[in-house]
């Protein structure tokens, strides 16, 4: 827990204060204010994805079998696992939010906080389901590094967590727009700071649809597990 809090905090301090002056010079305003929602998303993303992938451990240590033969439908098991992992991830996100406020982040409208929480929950559920879907297919932890490096890291870096989406061109624009986390970050930025790029309704719609789709895929793959 402490370990996974250190990284977002490091990003916030190093990037926030490091790039802050240049960002302000370029006319972007206060970089910390812009960056903090992205870093909160980062905390949620990593915890959530890992919570899903953690199922591989359960498979290796045999505990998964105990749940797989139980007279509970696999969809419910998958849903339970996902909600459990997502809850931890949201708590993580809230802690990062508090930490970022200590470092200097000032949310514009605290009244929107419930909506911010809604976006945090959606991000958390989406990526826990994503992790669970991957873990249903993988048999051991060997592939874990691969997934971190080739899926989770790109999703994070190419999501607009660090940079504004305004004026992006070419491939990076397309990638950012195809990345579900972009809409999560944007939604969080919109609710905390009214600095959203897309309309909040679009953010909410995309996040809900992708979450539902991943839950469906995840539970399908989970129901097909044979040990």
């Amino acid at each position: 827990m402490v370990g996974s809090l250190g990284q977002p905090l490091l990003f916030l301090v190093a990037l926030g204060y490091g790039f802050g002056p240049i960002y302000a010079k370029a006319g972007g305003g206060n970089y910390i204010q812009f960056l903090a929602p992205g870093v909160i998303c980062m905390g949620i993303l990593f915890t959530a994805a890992f919570a899903g992938i953690e199922m591989i451990w359960d498979r290796q240590f045999g505990f998964l079998r105990e749940t797989l033969v139980a007279p509970v439908s696999r969809f419910n098991i998958m849903l339970g696992r996902t909600l459990g992992g997502a809850t931890v991830a949201v708590i993580q996100g809230i802690i990062v939010l508090i930490l970022s406020m200590i470092v200097g982040f000032r949310p514009e409208n605290l009244l929107m906080l419930p909506f911010a929480l809604l976006f945090m929950f959606l991000i958390a559920i989406l990526f826990t389901a994503f992790g669970t879907a991957i873990a249903s297919v993988l048999e051991d932890m060997q592939g874990f590094q691969l997934i971190m490096n080739f899926l989770i890291m790109p999703i994070f870096f190419l999501s607009g967590s660090f940079f504004p989406l305004v004026g992006l061109t070419g491939a990076i624009d397309i990638i950012a727009k195809a990345n579900p986390l972009t809409y999560g970050v944007d939604g969080l930025r919109g609710t905390l700071m009214t600095m959203n790029h897309f309309p909040l309704s679009l953010d909410l719609l995309v996040m809900t649809l992708v979450t539902a789709a991943l839950l469906a895929i995840g539970s399908y793959l989970f129901s097909k597990i044979q040990i």
């Binding site: 045999g62 033969v69 139980a70 040990i227």
Partner: protein
């Protein structure tokens, strides 16, 4: 209660279970014996919905474990051969989680957990994390957990492996009592032949994925003209030592490749 008809399971080119058929009546204690990698665990996995057979038909308490997975899962309990406890939970939590999964009523669950943990002499360690337990303690807890909900059918895959004779006797007397009191059907595998001889009503011997003999312990001993079940077992399966792959899904002897 349990039936298998011409069941075949292949992993790629490997035939783990080769045309196996058997029939087990309600209330029977059935021992499934065979050398390492003979196909015992694969058969149990198919009966308990964890694996789907390549072909053939299975039935468990009137349900097909392939098509009616959820219904089938209601009717059995299982003690796995490999550990399946959550190390990060306490003994009590492992038991409680199991009870909740199987919908045991709260009050009954509390009583049963206490009774079983006391029976397995784990009660004073109930609040310790399982990762601090010794191998024997984990095994006892695993069996205790499998008995918390009294299922119609109980699968035991080498349940007493690594336990001392005292504990083994202790556990078998408990299971026999459950079998009598609740007419619970028991399907188990073991490498302790005297155990099978003493406990089982009927025995099937499987080797290289095929059932080579079925009957009561006495019948099998008479047929092979042996004094003990161990001798009968050796007469049926030969004296060679079987190789075994480490991966659980592939617990099938490579000997299948070069049959004598």
């Amino acid at each position: 209660m349990i039936s298998a008809k011409n069941v075949i399971k292949k992993f790629g080119d490997l035939v783990a279970v080769n045309d196996v058929s058997f029939e087990i009546k309600a209330g029977e204690i059935f021992a499934f014996l065979g050398p390492n990698g003979a196909g015992k665990t694969t058969t149990i996995k198919m009966l308990t919905t964890l694996l789907e057979p390549t072909s053939g038909h299975l039935e468990i308490n009137g349900n097909d474990p392939v098509k009616e997975k959820d219904e089938a899962r209601y009717s059995f309990g299982i003690v796995f051969q490999d550990p399946s406890l959550d190390d990060e939970l306490t003994a009590y939590e492992n038991m409680h989680f199991h009870g909740v999964l199987y919908g045991v009523p709260k009050k009954q669950l509390k009583e049963r957990i206490e009774q079983l943990l006391k029976f397995m002499e784990l009660w004073d360690r109930k609040d310790d994390l399982v990762k601090h337990f010794s191998g024997g303690m984990k095994r006892r807890l695993e069996i205790a957990r499998g008995l918390t909900h009294h299922p119609k059918i109980l699968f035991l895959d080498e349940p007493t492996l690594g336990l001392d004779p005292q504990t083994r006797n202790h556990i078998w007397s408990y299971i026999k009592e459950l079998n009598k009191k609740e007419n619970m059907t028991v399907f188990f595998t073991t490498h302790y032949m005297e155990e099978a001889d003493r406990v089982a009503d009927r025995i099937a011997v499987i080797d290289h994925g095929k059932i080579i003999e079925q009957g009561t312990p006495t019948e099998i001993k008479t047929k092979t003209n042996s004094a003990t079940l161990e001798d009968a077992f050796l007469a049926l399966t030969g004296n060679t030592i079987r190789e075994e792959k480490a991966e659980s899904a592939m617990r099938i002897g490579r000997r299948m490749w070069h049959k004598r």
